[in-house]
């Protein structure tokens, strides 16, 4: 055994998702609908400039997920053989952290309107990040091998 540091980590949500889906629903319908990210007013200053980005990443706590099975059918489709839950996007996973790239429609005060999110109403928001190709796309590592590559701003 190596001596890994597996001490628990605690985060305080910065806001909450609002949308029309209070119960697990068709993910495609959820992602095609509007969601609002309501950010705690004390963080207002921290997302100044986020409107420069068309796409952002929302990291949220999947608050309705309880426990997990080590192996599952991807997308619950029994025609696909079971595999490890970490090799799927199942919401029921060891740490139920949700992650979606969404499109920003508007930012007014502490309300960020987005489309593309698949989080249930009331999901606690842990972090938002601008989507940046060099970090977030499979081609990103290639870009960084090019000494002349510079991230795009905005």
């Amino acid at each position: 055994m190596s001596s890994m540091n597996l001490e628990p980590v605690t985060y305080t949500p910065i806001g909450e998702v609002h949308c029309d889906f209070g119960e697990p629903s068709n993910p495609k319908e959820m992602r095609n609908a509007l969601s609002t990210l309501e950010i705690d007013e004390k963080y207002l200053e921290t997302f100044e400039g986020l409107e420069k980005f068309e796409h952002i990443i929302v990291i949220y706590h999947i608050h309705r997920a309880l426990g997990y099975d080590p192996k599952v059918h991807p997308m619950g489709d029994e025609s696909i053989p079971k595999r490890g839950v970490l090799a799927t996007r199942s919401p029921r996973r060891p740490n139920p952290i949700g992650l979606t790239v969404v499109q920003v429609l508007s930012i007014e005060g502490n309300q960020i309107a987005v489309t593309g999110l698949d989080a249930l109403d009331g999901s606690p928001i842990l972090d938002v990040k601008p989507y940046e190709e060099h970090f977030d796309s499979p081609a990103g590592a290639e870009m960084e091998r090019d000494p002349d590559y510079r991230p795009r701003e905005g």
Copy 2:
């Protein structure tokens, strides 16, 4: 004031990053180097099948980040005006959660060798997910508006 649920959320890391970078370093150099994700053996079954994916997303705790400033110069570059820290990829943010798309080189036992990661040695790993275009690329929402779109497997 709305009544948001901002109760703290606690996660137990599933593993730890190993790499040659113990101190903050040039992100490009870090991403071009090899890193190993050592996963707690009790989760062995949960990542069976992850080898089907060329790219995965690593979500980790930025354990060396202490506190944050509400507004910062992006990439520490003083020639770029300050903006809200959540509109940058600064590691010092309200919840120091790191997120990088990496390329899988090999999986042997509980060791996942990757390139493209920008996490310091010893970073606690919170989650790994297969990279899936319809969730993780800006074009994803468009794909899901197409009723005939089906996610690719593997």
